[in-house]
């Protein structure tokens, strides 16, 4: 593998890792703070991708579609939390698994009724459709760099929100000791709703920005969900920092695995997870 090729794979793996982080961050926050295992998290990614497709064909602009989609998905998250999830925070994990599995079926079928079962492509906006030439015949698409940029911006925003703002302080207080936070006058129900909607929004935005690269197809949520599980298990549940590092690690192993060991590529990530489990059963950054 020469340098240019290596660079392309490296950029791809970082981009994939950052995308996984967007999903895993929501998943790990929702678990860490509310104690809910959410199998339907992949469905939010899928819904995001489909929204990007239909809104961008409707409005003619992907940027506008992403903004509208983000607002819609946050609203959707709030509604879902209010209707179902808030009643399941204290229930058994088994009930949560079943609830969210049922939701996967519902979301998949609603998607099939609304948008059909075909594979769709989303066009990249003209501004971002160029490629950066690396050598004579190798180049790197600007859109992928843009994706990584968006993910980094959102990751920084998330970090700033959680560690520097008043809202973030309340979220951390709620995660640390729910009852104590509540008795100090923090509206913990509101905090939960916000965190849940934030998770849904992050997953949907990930789906929306990934849509032009990954295309839009049925069941696209399940595969990404399992990758997110691996990321969260390696990183340690509840740790956003762990999710970031482990997402980048998984992106690296998966991307280079596909190039160097194509026959084993599907399994390498899971072997990484097995190794981490042997070494640290609670993940690398268990809080």
């Amino acid at each position: 593998m020469d340098l240019a090729n290596f660079l392309i794979q490296l950029l791809n793996s970082v981009q994939y890792g950052l995308l996984l982080f967007m999903l895993a961050a929501g998943l790990t926050l929702i678990f860490g703070i509310m104690g809910v295992v959410n199998l339907a998290h992949g469905s939010f990614y899928m819904l995001g991708a489909y929204m990007a497709w239909s809104l961008s064909t409707l409005t003619g602009s992907l940027t506008l579609a992403i903004v509208m989609g983000a607002v819609l998905s946050v609203a959707f998250g709030l509604a879902l939390e209010w209707l179902l999830f808030r009643h399941f925070y204290k229930r058994d994990h088994l009930d949560q698994v079943l609830l969210t599995f049922g939701l996967i079926y519902i979301f998949e079928e609603v998607r099939s009724i609304l948008w059909g079962d075909d594979v769709h492509g989303v066009t990249i906006p003209d501004v971002l459709s160029a490629s950066l030439p690396l050598t004579d015949n190798l180049s790197y698409p600007v859109y992928r760099l843009f994706m990584s940029g968006v993910c980094i911006a959102l990751a920084l925003g998330l970090y700033f929100m959680i560690s520097k703002t008043r809202l973030g302080m309340k979220i951390r207080a709620g995660a640390f000791n729910r009852d104590m936070a509540e008795s100090l006058g923090i509206n913990i129900k509101l905090i939960h709703a916000v965190v849940f909607a934030l998770g849904v929004g992050l997953a949907a935005v990930a789906g929306m920005i990934a849509a032009p690269v990954a295309s839009v197809y049925p069941n696209m949520g399940s595969q990404v969900l399992i990758m997110c599980f691996v990321v969260v298990v390696i990183g340690g549940i509840g740790s956003v920092r762990g999710a970031l590092i482990s997402a980048l690690l998984v992106g690296l192993v998966d991307t280079f695995g596909k190039v160097l060991l194509p026959s084993m590529a599907g399994m390498l990530v899971y072997m990484l997870m097995a190794a981490v489990l042997l070494w640290k059963p609670e993940g690398l950054f268990k809080q």
Binding site: L84, H93, V97
Partner: protein, 340 residues
């Protein structure tokens, strides 16, 4: 997290009688049912074995595995690999070998997953099952995404003498029923054995069990291995009945269906798993068979109905059918007490 800890282990007399009647109905069914329904009930019984094997983990030991279908599928694949293209293969060594293969896979994967607890266990079992899924899905040599055909049903011949012939749908039905009863009897015995009591103890309070000197890792790993092997038995029967095996059978939808069956019936007593498997498979059949109303084919959207059903069930009746029976009898008792 306490709701799942107290199981209905001793079946009320009424439920016992109902189970006995159900057994009589199962024995008599092929004489009254059509071929189609006989095959459907065969499949239900296979799923019941699968669900019981999961109940050993989920209901008895409190280990929620979201990857149990991997062991189900592996035994089916083992049968597919062992069956030559041109002739049937003997039941007598392929069945134990396939069950052993599933058990071995469960032992290896269990070695990693049993270290984890709660939510980690759910995610890790699912991830490892997905690893097995991709192993078969990505490799053309292992059948790839299309899966493999099993051209011949295993033969029961011993030195030229054939006690029964699984090619006959009726024989396969009774063979499966026999397997179902054996597995049920075995697991009920196991439930009340010291091993079963230890597993139940681990479900209720693992720390206390360790403090009392039980090596819970070994117990959990044994349960995981045994459950995997029994799932393999179900998978072998599935392969025998349908004549094909594909990666979808190891997917997480299949695992979630098994969880659903155990929940639907009621956890921790194996009878519930059987009831749940029958109920779930029947519901699936009903939902997929819904008529077309106007221009809308209701059956095509079976996932929507199943999804709604699951959500409603978990919101309103989280302890399943047997749980509802229990609730109603309690309510009746309370009402009677109130009259005095």
């Amino acid at each position: 997290m306490s709701s799942a800890k107290a199981n209905l282990e001793i079946l009320p007399r009424g439920v016992q009688v109902a189970l006995g009647l159900g057994l009589i109905a199962l024995v008599a069914f092929p004489f009254v049912g059509t071929d189609f329904y006989t095959q459907m009930v065969t499949r239900m019984m296979i799923m019941a074995i699968f669900a019981m094997s999961l109940d050993l983990l989920q209901g008895v030991s409190g280990l929620v595995s979201l990857g149990h279908a991997a062991y189900f599928g592996l035994a089916g694949y083992a049968l597919a690999f062992l069956t030559p293209a041109g002739e049937p293969v003997s039941l007598w060594w392929t069945l134990p070998l396939a069950v052993l293969a599933s058990g071995l896979a469960a032992l290896i994967i269990g070695f990693f997953v049993v270290r984890t607890h709660g939510i980690y266990f759910i995610m890790v079992t699912m991830a490892f099952a997905q690893m097995v899924f991709y192993l078969f899905f990505d490799n053309k040599a292992l059948g790839g995404s299309d899966g493999l055909y099993i051209n011949f049903k295993p033969s029961a011949a011993i030195f030229g003498w054939t006690p029964f012939d699984l090619d006959s749908k009726l024989t396969l039905y009774y063979f499966t029923l026999g397997a179902l009863l054996l597995v049920y009897a075995f697991l009920r015995r196991l439930l009340w054995s010291p091993f079963g009591r230890t597993l139940a103890g681990i479900r209720v309070n693992e720390h206390r069990m360790r403090a009392m000197g039980f090596g819970t890792f070994g117990y959990k790993l044994s349960a995981f291995t045994l459950a995997g092997a029994l799932a393999g038995l179900a998978g072998y029967l599935w392969g025998t009945q349908t004549g094909y095996i594909n990666p979808e059978l190891m997917g997480f939808h299949m695992s979630a269906h098994a969880i659903m069956m155990v929940i639907l019936g009621g956890m921790g007593n194996f009878a519930g798993a059987i009831v749940g498997a029958f109920a779930f498979e029947y519901l699936l059949h009903v939902f997929k068979d819904l008529p077309t109303l106007g221009s809308v084919n209701l059956g095509k959207h079976w996932q929507l109905w199943m999804g709604l059903f699951i959500v409603l069930l978990v919101v309103f009746a989280p302890r399943g059918i047997l749980g509802l029976v229990e609730k109603f009898t309690q309510r009746k008792n309370k009402a009677e007490a109130g009259h005095e």
